[in-house]
Symmetry: C2
Subunit: 151 residues, 2 copies
């Protein structure tokens, strides 16, 4: 079997993104367990804390998720009592998501999470500058969604 370096796992550029994504989720997990949230649920709460009232589509465009993922996730947040879901009266296709009192209060409990996470990350020896640079590069990658393909 030919040994092509391009197919070696160590030479993959995308594998570290996949692996790091799972590592990050695991860093969040113990913190989020205390709030009763998963990581995608936490991201959803983040945008709701920031914008208060959003439609399913609004949330989806901020998180790059669609209704096939969000609808069940939002139903779980609803059954936990953090949000409420209501059909818009002006457009019956739209479901408006809003925070309940319990959902609003959760923000206080979540406020220390970013700090805890930066603490964890600082142990990896990644500087703020490095983190900013990485974020910038990742955002270029993310922008690829809106485009074309190579044949």
């Amino acid at each position: 079997m030919k040994n092509s370096a391009e197919l070696e796992i160590e030479n993959q550029y995308c594998f570290p993104i996949y692996a790091a994504s799972r590592v990050v989720t695991k860093l969040y997990t113990p913190l989020l367990n205390e709030l009763g949230l998963t990581y995608p649920q936490y991201l959803t709460m983040l945008v709701l804390w920031q914008y208060q009232n959003l439609t399913v589509n609004d949330i989806g465009s901020k998180l790059m998720l669609e209704s096939n993922t969000l609808t069940p996730l939002l139903k779980r947040l609803e059954s936990q009592g953090f949000i409420s879901r209501k059909r818009s009266s002006s457009d019956e296709r739209v479901v408006e998501i809003s925070l309940t009192e319990k959902g609003i209060n959760l923000k206080k409990k979540a406020s220390y999470i970013p700090e805890k996470l930066s603490c964890s990350i600082s142990h990896s020896g990644i500087s703020q500058e490095e983190m900013d640079q990485m974020k910038h590069t990742l955002q270029k990658l993310i922008a690829l969604t809106k485009e074309h393909h190579c044949k």
Copy 2:
């Protein structure tokens, strides 16, 4: 509601990793569909093409996955005829994974994938240097798995 910048989605450092990971998977998907593989299955095949014979644990340590994820995935690769699974005779706890003829042949069909992907990525305007830098940072993050926590 207090508006703490740290909880704003745009200021999250980990969200881009999560989002980029899904973007990358979507870039691979049309290419891998032609081979009949998913992205995690492709990663598994990569390490098998490189090392030929590995145990479930070996694959897991290279991909940072455990048997609860790998066992079903490997059974799917087996039912597709790409690999075979056999209990080790020297240690009956161990399952040895090896490539079938069909699995070996798949490597040829996969050989053009890295090139196609770099083509896609080059459209994002990310330089090779930038990609290397990002990989390096991500690997530091990944190394956090092996550690400690912040209280």
